[in-house]
């Protein structure tokens, strides 16, 4: 009986064993509570952030970049909508598959490691931001991508504002270009206003005026589900467009300058001499800034950088060239102002000039005979200026030249300006540790030797001659409207006024008019009804010993550079044009017609009549 009764008062073991299990249960519950405390109290901030990152996507709404306008209010840089392919790294499921599918739709280089690497590194470091993969898709491409949405979870097409330059290459070197901000640039923007994929001015006015032109990005905070689909808009901050930059440039003149230079390398600069306003500034060959705004390909970028004609260099303010005969009016002016050479004094030109055992040739082999200063300028007689150079010496010449703006930083409001070199005895001593030799003064007289100048300096120098000593700071930007609406204007700025004798100024102007109109070397710049004054220049690139060889017969790289700098009308200068053609040969034949075209276009819309005379 007893064995069959399963009462358990006599089994204290069962109670003990049950208690042990209960304690184990209590222990496990304590462990669970500890774990929950760890996750929900200690680590909760981290997980809250992860949950928000799960749920929220920040979609940047890029601000349109501001306009750049020419003097007549025409947009020369504007912002247009473009269909861009954007990648959201966190939503990418299979990068390789998606990329190769895209490669079939968009002609973008699937193997381009730049794009793939960028996405890969963003997947690790910053998966919740978006990356622009390709810009400016065509409509068919957009529809094919939309059709394949399911297979491309990480990619989407957004309408984005893209920089566009309606005049193409014409304004390339003035406007510069925009590109995506580099990581360093993002770091440098101290307010953190630059986001990945933002466009930033990299060169030219785009870079200089970046603060004005760049808008303030807006954003959309969107809630997404686990599949990355947008569920609802949580928050939206509208973007603010960038401000406007008004320039003094004239698009018609700019296009004319570009056409006139054509395929040749060189620079054409047009200025208003009394205000320093830049009317046209072309450097050739140029690049297409539109290509940069759409994300230039590496190969194209390399091609631009290895081209021997340097399309990425702004020859107007970065290229320095021997001035050749264009320097002669400055020597004449020095002679007059220093009262060391009277304009009536005649010098005999037999075709060459001898100094010791050196012989310096005149460009005209048979010589000019007896020439006074006027004839010497008009005919560009080298022998006259050899003797004048020798007589004046480098320091007097340099003093006047520097005063007019040659060999100095002109202070133009474009980035990257370089200054040329106007040699002095002091310069020679410090740089070469040698004394100045007389023969150097001789060749300095015709703008050869150590002297070299930028086309911009030349344009400013001639503007100073034209105005009789007013040195103006060259200006491209005339007015700026900030994004807050504040207007800033940039009035003409006179750097200095040279105390020149008006008689001397008058004489030089007349002589320069003679170059164009009095059977001089600049005859091909002659304009009907308007008196143009200017000077040709042919700058030797390599000295060819022995016989005179025609420039056209030389290989391109050692052909002479051709200059022509002029202003008009001579008695009331309204425009100065400097043209330089690299390896163009003679200034009179290669550069003068360019200046003529630009002036013709300038005066086409500005009749020069009595009513204009005397006006500024």
């Amino acid at each position: 009986m007893t064995g069959r009764i399963r009462k358990r008062e006599q089994d204290p073991d069962i109670t003990r064993r049950s208690r042990i299990l209960l304690y184990i249960a209590l222990g496990v519950f304590a462990l669970l509570i500890g774990r929950l405390y760890w996750l929900q109290v200690v680590e909760s901030d981290r997980y809250r952030m992860l949950a928000e990152n799960n749920r929220l996507r920040l979609r940047t709404v890029r601000a349109p970049r501001g306009l750049i306008l020419d003097r007549k209010g025409r947009a020369i840089a504007e912002t247009q909508g473009s269909f861009d392919l954007v990648c959201s790294p966190v939503d990418v499921k299979d990068l390789q598959a998606e990329i190769s599918l895209l490669g079939e739709i968009v002609e973008f280089d699937v193997d381009d490691p730049e794009v793939v690497d960028k996405i890969r590194s963003a997947m690790r470091s910053n998966p919740y931001s978006s990356i622009t993969v390709a810009r400016d898709l065509r409509f068919e491409q957009v529809s094919v991508i939309e059709f394949n949405r399911e297979a491309l979870p990480g990619f989407s097409v957004l309408v984005e504002a893209t920089r566009s330059y309606p005049y193409g290459t014409a304004f390339a070197h003035v406007l510069g270009y925009v590109g995506e901000a580099s990581p360093e640039e993002m770091e440098r923007s101290e307010d953190g206003s630059l986001a990945m994929g933002d466009l930033i001015g990299k060169y030219g006015l785009e870079r200089l005026m970046d603060n004005v032109l760049r808008g303030v990005n807006g954003g959309r905070k969107v809630e997404v589900d686990a599949a990355g689909r947008d569920q609802r808009l949580v928050e939206e901050v509208p973007s603010r467009a960038g401000g406007a930059v008004y320039t003094s440039l004239d698009a018609d003149l700019q296009v004319t300058a570009q056409d006139a230079l054509g395929n040749r390398a060189g620079a054409v600069i047009a200025l208003a001499p009394r205000t320093g306003e830049v009317l046209a500034f072309y450097s050739g060959p140029a690049f297409d800034p539109n290509a940069f705004a759409r994300g230039i390909r590496k190969a194209d970028w390399q091609a631009l950088n290895t081209d021997p004609r340097k399309p990425m260099q702004n020859k107007g303010l970065q290229g320095t060239y021997a001035p050749g005969s264009t320097i002669k009016p400055f020597l004449a002016m020095t002679g007059l102002e220093e009262k060391m050479q009277e304009k009536e004094k005649q010098v005999l030109c037999p075709g060459s000039f001898r100094l010791g055992n050196r012989v310096f040739r005149c460009w005209r082999e048979k010589g000019h005979g007896a020439v006074d200063m006027y004839r010497a300028i008009v005919q560009s007689c080298d022998v006259y200026f050899y003797t004048l150079g020798l007589k004046l010496g480098p320091d007097r010449v340099a003093k006047l030249e520097k005063a007019t703006g040659l060999g100095t930083i002109t202070g133009i409001d474009l980035p990257g300006e370089r200054k040329g070199l106007v040699p002095t005895t002091e310069w020679k001593r410090t740089v070469t540790k040698e004394r100045w030799y007389d023969y150097e003064s001789v060749i300095l007289g015709i703008g050869q030797g150590a002297v070299h100048l930028t086309p911009l300096e030349m344009a400013i120098g001639y503007a100073t001659l034209a105005t009789g000593g007013e040195v103006m700071r060259p200006r491209v930007v005339s007015k700026v409207i900030e994004k807050e609406g504040k207007v800033r204007t940039f009035p003409p700025e006179m750097l200095r006024k040279l105390p020149w004798n008006p008689e001397n100024v008058d004489f030089i102007r007349k002589a320069l008019a003679g170059v164009v109109n009095d059977y001089g070397t600049g005859g091909s710049a002659k304009l009907p009804g308007i008196v143009v004054g200017g000077k040709t220049g042919t700058a030797q690139v390599a000295s060819v010993k022995g016989k005179m060889i025609k420039s056209e017969d030389l290989p391109y790289e050692i052909r002479d550079h051709a200059w022509f700098v002029a202003f008009a009308p001579v008695d009331d200068p309204q425009i100065v044009v400097a043209a330089l053609v690299e390896h163009g040969g003679h200034g009179g034949s290669a550069a003068a017609p360019i200046v003529k075209s630009v002036m013709q276009e300038f005066f086409r819309t500005r009749p020069v009549g009595p009513e204009r005379k005397g006006g500024a």
């Binding site: 009462k7 049950s18 669970l32 929950l36 909760s44 949950a51 749920r55 686990a226």
Partner: protein
């Protein structure tokens, strides 16, 4: 025992505790089945029906006459074994596993009922083999054989999670039934040694789960996804939670199975540490009550069965919560009364009904006389 006296001896705290958990579960199912912020009512209605059916099942089992459960234990066990075979033959394949039998609108999951059937069968076996001073190896081997059959059938589905629950029940009941510590240590060692063998028999996805449990960040979008998203849901709940219906992990579908196995993740995201703590207290009270009944039952079968039921709930609660918190690999084990699911609800309620039924015996008088229940008399 008459109906009024049964009524008078009813263990109300046990049922009220379970109903409180059911209410929380119902609210949670409502929140967890929202898609993109739109609540889904269909599953809430179904869950409510399951709760009502569950309460009915509770009373049906509770009202069974004294001794019936013990007498029917073996029959119930054999019936459930047959059901498990049927599942393997005609069961519905869902998510790569054959776990359900379609019954009209409902899918029945026999492995849930098997857990209770095994508990009763083991209680009956151990109550017979009980020896003062401890049960030896020879008596334990048949018990292992008893569990092995349902274990293998469920493991074949394959549902290693539920199969594992049988082993926990066996181990827990072996402790309560005073199997000698030496024997328990022997099987513990043998079990640990068997892990590599188990690894060999595991399916690829199961191995993957274990590996990603050890390091979820290995495959954050694949096998580690569940664990990571679940931890994010729990952790982002913080101290006081995001508020009811304010959770985002579930409604935006970052959580998988958010109303069934991961219901607790939804709950703790919305109610935070305080809510989770209170829920754990409710579960702890339930477990405590079951152990209390284990200790206080006057009858060995009742004691062992209550102990087995306590271990059954304990295993489910702990494994499910540990899984949601990233302390245990992801296995398909529901949280009793809180997760959506009919079989789990019915099983839980039946188990509690049985515990309430068996605990009536603690009021019986000592000795063989009166209305005392004496087996075999």
């Amino acid at each position: 025992m008459t109906l009024p006296s049964k009524w008078a001896r009813m263990d109300w705290p046990l049922l009220l505790n379970a109903l409180a958990l059911c209410a929380i579960g119902l609210l949670n199912v409502y929140s967890g089945t929202r898609v993109h912020g739109v609540p889904g009512t269909a599953l809430v209605t179904k869950q409510l029906a399951w709760i009502l059916l569950g309460v009915a099942a509770f009373f049906a089992v509770y009202l069974l006459s004294d001794g019936f459960i013990e007498e029917a234990a073996n029959g119930f066990f054999i019936a459930v074994l047959l059901l498990l075979v049927v599942v393997l033959l005609v069961g519905r394949v869902r998510g790569g596993a054959q776990r359900w039998i379609a019954l009209g609108a409902f899918n029945l999951q026999p492995s849930e009922f098997a857990k209770i059937a095994v508990t009763f069968a083991l209680a009956k076996y151990f109550s017979r083999t009980y020896r003062y001073g401890g049960v030896g190896l020879r008596e334990v081997l048949p018990a292992i054989g008893l569990v092995l059959a349902p274990f293998l059938l469920v493991a074949l589905q394959p549902d290693l999670g539920s199969a594992g629950v049988f082993l926990f029940i066996l181990a827990g009941m072996a402790v309560v039934a005073c199997v000698r510590w030496k024997v328990l240590a022997l099987f513990g060692t043998a079990g640990a040694a068997a892990v590599p063998v188990l690894w060999f028999f595991m399916k690829e996805y199961q191995r993957q789960r274990v590996l990603t449990f050890l390091n979820p960040e290995l495959d954050p979008l694949g096998a580690g996804y569940h664990v990571i998203q679940s931890k994010i849901a729990v952790g982002s709940g913080g101290l006081i939670g995001k508020g009811y219906l304010q959770g985002t992990q579930g409604s935006l579908r970052f959580l998988p199975e958010q109303h069934t196995d991961f219901a607790f993740a939804v709950f703790s995201e919305e109610w935070g540490f305080l809510g989770s703590f209170l829920l754990l207290i409710l579960f702890l009270l339930l477990i405590y009550r079951l152990f209390f009944l284990t200790i206080r039952s006057q009858d060995r079968f009742a004691s062992f069965a209550c102990g087995g039921i306590a271990v059954f709930f304990l295993t489910h609660i702990v494994i499910n919560m540990a899984m949601v918190c990233g302390l245990f690999p992801v296995v398909g084990i529901p949280l009793p009364f809180v997760s959506y699911g009919g079989s789990s609800m019915l099983t839980g309620m039946m188990a509690l009904g049985a515990a309430a039924n068996l605990s009536r015996s603690r009021f019986t008088f000592q000795g063989g006389g009166g209305k005392g229940r004496v087996i075999g008399s």
